[in-house]
Amino acid sequence: MDYFIELFFSGLTRGSIYALIALGYTMVYGIIGLINFAHGEIYMIGAFTALVVSVALSIYNFPLVAIFVLTLAAAAVWAAAYGYTIEKLAYKPLRHAPRLSPLISAIGMSIFLQNYVLLAQTPDFLPFPALIPDFAFMEPVSHIVGSSDLAILVTTAIIMVFLILFIKFTRTGKAMRATAQDRTMAMLVGINVNRVISVTFVIGSALAAVGGVLIASHVGQINFFIGFIAGIKAFTAAVLGGIGSIPGAVLGSFILGLTESFATGYISSDYEDVFAFSLLVLILIFRPAGLLGKSTTEKV
């Protein structure tokens, strides 16, 4: 039973890591129907920004809490700036092009950003400081669930709730939903669609950066390539839960994380990915729109 609980928590940790990234994926897809493949790279850039800022701050002997907050803020702002710029440069000019064009543009952006960081920074792995300290109250259960695991879990939950409230009740959130439903109609009623899309990218990128900071602190190392695998897994999770749906992304991430963890624990980690993707195929056969996705009929 202990073993089961341990595997369960390791699955939850994995799931919440995926969820932090998947939230940004699903938001962007929900609004403009674009799979933003550069999202994983924004996550990576967030982590690199955090590394630079936190190392600089620790030289000046800031207290750990201050370092954590300032690093998080700096990473979110910097990554948001990247997200905003990428949208303006790589996606906006293709807004009326066939769907495949922005997708290719996104893949290109992803490759560009990876190599840009490779050249501008380093191809090596870099140690990432533990920004989340080992809490004293977690000590008795630290063999099952660590402090950083808990921090990631709680952050994911808070962000999800805030996002849902934001989209449901704020003016911008309503504009986002309207844009998602019918872009032309939204324009006709006076919504600045370009602004809405920019806001979406800014929020999505800031979330990815928050994910980058927490996950890098949990893992303890970063390099230019971390965004790729994390991005692929988060994308899978978003599709599993129903891409475009925010609770769906979180649910999909947890299911993916738990499947991988139990498959590793009870069968073999050699087949971890096989189980994860078999599950994806199965769910898509029975629910093509994903678990919580709305199946919309295309009007001709």
Partner: protein, 373 residues
Amino acid sequence: MKLTGVPASLFSALLLTFALQTASVAGTIKIGVAGAHSGDLASYGLPTVKAVELVVNDLNAGGGINGNPIELLIEDDVCKPEVATNTATKLVSQGAHVVIGHICSGATKAALPIYKDAGILVISPSATNPALTQSGDYPNFYRTIASDDAQARTEVDFAINVLGARKIAVIHDKGDYGKGLAEYAKTFIQQSGTAEVVLYEGVTPGAVDYSAVVQKIKRSGADAVIFGGYHPEASKIVTRMRKKKMKTLFISDDGVKDDTFIKVAGKYAEGVYATGPTDVTSNPITIAAREAHIKAYGKEPGAFFDNAYAAALAITNAIARAGSTDSAAIARILTTQEVATPFGNIRFDDRGDAIGIGFSVYQVRDGKYVQVR
């Protein structure tokens, strides 16, 4: 061009006389040097040519071997098995007495039967495929590099005999290098009879979190982990193990014997064992060879330079002591008498592997790798 029966045999007869003529030039000792000298793997082959040239130029300046000058026959195989057979045939027809090469295992394997039939002794500075010596198919083959499984052998011996591990978990990263090593380690543990493999698993490189696998290691009751792979995964696994307060020993390979591992894993790296090539930088022959290379070519030597230097020294020394270029006589010296090389004094075992060239075990102590055995 199409050769009909009669002219073809005439042609080969001519070739034969030509070959006999060149072979009969009095006293010249011909050493073939074969390997990748062009193409994308040239950087593996060219340092060997330079190493052999340095050794041979030195000897020739002193009057050659027992008064006989040495001639080098340098042939390119581009690291391709299908080219290597042609290279070998060419060297045989040019009358090479011994061959230093080839560089790549695949090319070496393809060329060896041709040399074997011609009775030519071959010594490779870099072909690491275990079967080349262990299969017993090529009694004419020697090498001055440890075979691929030597590292796993060192790890398992150390874990069982020095650390006293009885239950060992073998983990790898599913890659060619890591999985290959893990498979050898698993076989050696099973053959040992004193220890058992309690877990054999591959992990996905680059995954965000390895806690499930770490739980599994914990449940298996392993007292040591042997990991085949590189440092990014190793540091994630070790960190997770130590954070879960597991004291399980961690033993890995030269993919982990990298300062980045210590930098990334930080305090959790302490006590980790890793095997790596024995450090030879303080050996006077190594230093002299390096300086000679810099003087002659104006830059640092490249891959397998030390191994090739050792091969050239071993083979020329054996010819000198045997007083002949006869393969059996050379082989007798190689396996019975020690020779001073960049790796210290070495000789060869009956299978053709060098005794004295291999791996050492290092441990992380106070943020540095220290040789422990």
